[in-house]
Symmetry: D2
DNA sequence: TTTT
DNA sequence: TTTT
């Protein structure tokens, strides 16, 4: 095909730590859930409704290692990437999942450095400790 | 939460017709599969590999009706929307699917008008017959 | 033409306060400069170079009023909008400027509420006090 | 700063040919104007108004050469890039211009190959002959 | 003019 | 499971 575009832009909060898996040969893959949410007032009941969507973010190699090092549960990040469908079989049943394979990631808050450095002045400004791009040195891997 | 962003931008081709469902009261929902693909050369085998991802696009109300009217299988469209997770139970098994709820859609080709209007001059330029936005008149519905 | 897309996505810091102008009839327009920057290491000299770009953000009506109320110099915001070219004559010379007409704006930090509410607990997490969209109630105006 | 994002996404038509300039050492820079437009009905006069914006797209090195080779006036392209401000002096007057420095470009029509290959079957589907990314091999140049 |  |  070509002439196609597949782009996702998310700003959300990590629902859990980054789980990283190392392959033989040095490649690695990391995963974390990211929450985005919308709040609106129901036209039927008048009550305020918050709707949260969870996104499976996948990071690879250097980007995975940086994420594991600097991101913690609750952090707010900007993620840019591609939608990828993964399918596998579990107990004879076909399972499908949609993942966001990140190509760019920028921190918009940094709990971890604040936690680890109690003397660092804390203010309400977000601090970006990482802002990295994924380059496809080796994307010809079985994941 | 707020302070979050959930945005998807796709340019791809329809893998099938738009399937529309009308609700009592006039609301409607339409769905179609959209393909994006990447072609790259494997570093291991040297062969050209095409990787296709399929996206479940969801359109509502006026946007759904326009899509059903003007889009056909094979058409190329620009879609902007949000990632939404849907879950349901089938045979006692929890199923999950990720959908792209379109908020904007622009045609980049128009097979249908060309087919139906054989006298229309055909050229290699894409013609946009629709370019519409979804406004949330009534998004407080059970879909 | 149609079949065209004009979209800008920025995350940056306000270089100055929001300047708002009210028209007879209640319409309003606000403007503020937004900075984005890149840091890289020069391949020639080895020194670290920071490159800042300044963007003229334009907001209208309700969005303008919210921005004036909640945003202050230094705040970090997410802005989505369109590129618009403006031209005018000054001393007989044609001048051109490019503006970003915002359609969506989300705060990623909130200095103002923190300043004004000294008792509010301050932490390193960005807080979003506004997240608004511009709807074109009346875009047929001379600005 | 860091923690900032500067992203532009355009789909539009070339208003002129790609003008390329080669530097000593093999680097090159190309430029072309890209038009996007909006059509709306005036609430005051009821007439249909088309509003066109022109964008100065800048491409470098390999991407510049591919654009010069394959793009012609009128072609429709998807461009992703960054907003950059350029300033220079002309007749003692400071001039400013905003450019879109492209990082990704995908063709959505191909007049040139159609022109040059009269036997090629012409249909209303856009064909993508190029889809390329800019990688910053050498961005430490005086342009 | 911002920010780290 | 996040966040406000």
């Amino acid at each position: 095909m070509a002439g196609t575009i597949n782009k996702v832009i998310l700003i959300g909060n990590l629902g859990d730590e980054v789980k990283i898996h190392y392959f033989d040969g040095g490649d690695s893959i990391g995963r974390f859930p990211l929450a985005t949410s919308e709040t609106y007032v129901s036209k039927q009941t008048g009550e305020k409704i918050t709707n949260t969507d969870w996104h499976n973010v996948v990071v690879k190699n250097k980007l995975a290692e940086i994420c594991e090092k600097y991101l913690v549960k609750g952090d707010k990040v900007y993620v840019e990437g591609k939608l990828k469908n993964r399918q596998w079989e579990q107990d004879g049943i076909k399972r499908y999942a949609t993942e966001i394979h990140a190509t760019e990631l920028t921190m918009l808050s940094n709990k971890k450095s604040a936690e680890n450095n109690p003397n660092v002045s804390k203010n309400s400004q977000p601090t970006s400790v990482i802002s990295v791009s994924h380059t496809d040195e080796n994307d010809d891997l079985p994941f």
